[in-house]
């Protein structure tokens, strides 16, 4: 039933519908998202997301800065998974200008991206459980995240919005202290993931809250272009690191976790497994990282990639991130287009939440792992 039909049916049955505004200030919509819910009692008849409360027009900013000056902007689009966003932009420009990246820099990029992915998933984990009423795992997750942030701060200087990659490599080399810390982090985090499994994932209340709730079919993912854990939680094993391999991912061994059920529990399990797989990648990369330069010499300060349009896709923590840059041979980009994962993931919320109760719809929203600045840019 389409929303209009559902509302008509409710009216004919004598039930009054009312409009409830979820947000923009609301503890459960992470960031400023407003959803206009037309409700019949506790059931949602129509959910209309209203975006734009944190729209900063990054795409226009791209046209007013040089290619290098735009780098700090890239982290602010999705601040939780900032490294991967910078990676997409930097790699797109490198593709355009034909800049080679030394192997050591590629390995550094992989290690830092995967650490960033784990820290992003830890925030999702804490916040999702907070939505469901379990206040405590958030602080345990943030405790683990502190270790990652300390590691990354030592080499990049930032805790959240890193601006670490440059055209042709990275800005700063990693030292043995960082590699040692990353190597020690892997077994520590594996223990913690086991603890989360027994303490949280197997909790009966949580399982009742998530199993069978918010089913998203493969067809729905396909129609709306939803990617990342949303698509993998519906059974499609699509990961940009495998389907459009980039950097040194082809040399690393990791699995793509996917579960066929399509409910909130499947998406939850996909993300927990992804953290384990990221640890595998970090372990291998730290062992395989070669000595050598961390930046290609000779990249001009004022870069002017040849005219044309180019694109690059990476697997961000939330799904497929694609950057399309159009260059006209000048030192400022002509057009930068960000195809962000949360933008495409949220479009399916309207169809997926029809007929659900409010509490379940919030569980669905949490399991989509949306970051609102990612939607609005």
């Amino acid at each position: 039933m389409t929303p209009a039909e559902a509302i008509e049916a409710a009216r004919r049955a004598g039930n009054e519908t009312f409009i409830l505004n979820l947000g923009p200030q609301h503890p459960a919509t992470h960031g400023v998202l407003r959803i206009k819910l037309t409700m019949d009692g506790e059931y949602i008849l129509r959910a209309e997301p209203v975006a734009g409360y944190i729209h900063r027009m990054h795409e226009k900013m791209g046209e007013n800065r040089t290619w290098a000056q735009y780098l700090p902007n890239t982290s602010r689009i999705d601040y939780l998974s900032a490294m991967t966003y910078t990676h997409a932009y930097v790699a797109a420009v490198e593709r355009a200008a034909g800049i080679e990246v030394p192997r050591r820099a590629e390995f550094i990029r992989v290690i830092t991206s995967e650490l960033n992915r784990i820290s992003s998933h830890l925030v999702w984990f804490g916040a999702f459980l907070l939505d469901l009423g379990g206040f405590t795992p958030l602080l345990y997750a943030f405790d683990d995240r502190e270790k990652i942030l300390d590691m990354l701060e030592a080499i990049t200087g930032s805790r959240l919005t890193y601006c670490y990659y440059r055209f042709g490599g990275v800005y700063n080399d990693v030292d043995d202290a960082f590699l040692g810390a990353a190597r020690d982090f892997v077994p520590y985090m594996r223990e913690r993931l086991k603890m989360y499994e027994t303490l949280v994932t197997e909790n009966l209340i949580l399982r009742k809250r998530l199993e069978g709730i918010g089913p998203i079919s493969k067809k729905m993912c396909h129609k709306y272009g939803a990617t990342g854990p949303v698509m993998r939680g519906s059974g499609i094993a699509y990961d940009v690191r495998r389907m459009e391999p980039y950097s040194v991912y082809p040399e690393l061994e990791f699995d793509i976790p996917h579960y066929p059920e399509g409910d909130c529990m499947a998406r939850y399990r996909v993300r927990m497994e992804e953290m384990a797989q990221s640890l595998r990648i970090i372990e291998q990369a730290v062992a395989m990282i070669p000595a050598g330069p961390f930046q290609t010499p000779g990249v001009p300060k004022s870069l002017k990639p040849p005219a044309g349009d180019y694109c690059f896709a990476v697997e961000a923590a939330r799904g497929r991130l694609m950057v399309r840059i159009v260059s006209d041979g000048k030192e400022m980009p002509y057009r930068v287009r960000w195809r962000t994962p949360s933008f495409c993931n949220i479009t399916l919320f309207e169809e997926a939440s029809r007929g659900m109760m409010l509490a379940d719809a919030l569980a669905l929203l949490g399991s989509l792992d949306l970051v609102i600045p990612d939607i609005d840019r």
Partner: protein, 329 residues
């Protein structure tokens, strides 16, 4: 000392109000410190030693805040609702015996008084939600009503079970019937009620649900309904609801202690009765807080299913079993 009756009563009532106020303030402190420790952080430490003056600072803040009454609310009901939350709790405490002599008014129908006033709590939250004219508040009020009505039934069935074994509704007498070594406490009296520990558990769960404590706090589920029925209250209005919530927890745990754990009866016969009563009550309150910070929230229909489909059959079962046991043995 033997004071004339009116003065004794007034002294007790003042004492009770002080007790409720002190508890509301310091249970909040205990909750914040406890939750901090459960979450691997410290909780308040700045104000006073170990944050002990934090509740005082919070009370001063609440008292000095503007009492915002939004213009669209129903004036009388909006202002009456917080009072209706706190008064029944205090009245219930008047009949609860803290020890052999420490009871404000030992009524023969003490148990009935507690439950009658306890059911006013539902009305009060409903009024708060309704009078606020706020959609979130109304959804929350509707949930509170369904939840509380659902959980009052198993609670009362459990109480009837106890009544069958003790034959009296006077709370002091119920405690006196549990005199002796600790295996005389109702929770261990398997000769009268073979499922006594189960009965205690049912009562405890119903008490959590009646006082809207997690994991049954659907009504004020912060992450969904902002603050639920009390969204529109600010300053001391909110403060009174808060005190009311803790007072209800106090009454609930006090009742659980009296009915099941022997009230002020001491297991080793050394220290005064009041000490044991307070100790047992505070252990139960600590467990209430512990549960809150450990489990996530259930969905609303799971909550109601738990009551209607699980707890009511169990409590009916124990009722029948107790009746059979008492008749036969």
């Amino acid at each position: 000392m033997n004071l004339p009756e009116p003065i004794r009563l007034v002294a007790f009532l003042v004492g009770l109000m002080a007790f409720v106020g002190f508890n509301a303030a310091y249970l909040v402190w205990a909750e914040r410190k406890g939750s901090g420790r459960f979450q691997r952080r410290l909780g308040p430490t700045e104000v006073g030693f170990a944050g002990l003056l934090q509740p005082i600072a919070d009370s001063i803040k609440l008292l000095t805040k503007q009492l915002l009454v939004p213009p669209t609310v129903d004036g009388l009901l909006f202002r009456a609702a917080p009072l209706l939350v706190i008064i029944p709790a205090m009245v219930s405490l008047a009949v609860i015996p803290f020890s052999e002599n420490l009871v404000a008014r030992d009524l023969h129908l003490g148990l009935l008084v507690v439950f009658s006033f306890g059911s006013i709590h539902v009305l009060a939250v409903m009024l708060a939600g309704w009078a606020s004219r706020n959609k979130y508040a109304i959804i929350s009020a509707a949930r509170v009503v369904s939840q509380n009505v659902a959980y009052e039934i198993p609670m009362l069935l459990v109480v009837i079970t106890i009544l069958m074994t003790t034959n009296t509704t006077s709370l002091s007498e119920i405690v006196q019937k549990q005199a002796g070594p600790f295996w005389h406490w109702n929770i261990f009296r398997l000769d009268q009620n073979p499922l006594a520990p189960v009965t205690f558990l049912v009562f405890y769960i119903c008490m959590l649900a009646e006082t809207n404590r997690a994991p049954f706090d659907m009504a004020e589920a912060e992450s969904e309904l902002v603050a639920g029925a009390i969204t529109e209250y600010s300053g001391m209005g909110f403060g009174v609801f808060f005190i009311g919530e803790y007072a209800n927890v106090l009454v609930g745990c006090a009742l659980a202690t009296l009915l099941f754990l022997g009230g002020w009866q001491s297991p080793i016969g050394v220290l005064p009765g009041a000490f044991w009563f307070l100790l047992k009550m505070y252990v139960l309150i600590f467990a209430v807080m512990w549960v809150r910070w450990t489990f996530p929230r259930t969905q609303f229909y799971t909550l109601l299913n738990l009551s209607w489909k699980v707890l009511i059959p169990i409590s009916l079962g124990t009722l029948v079993l107790t009746a059979i046991t008492l008749k036969l043995f």
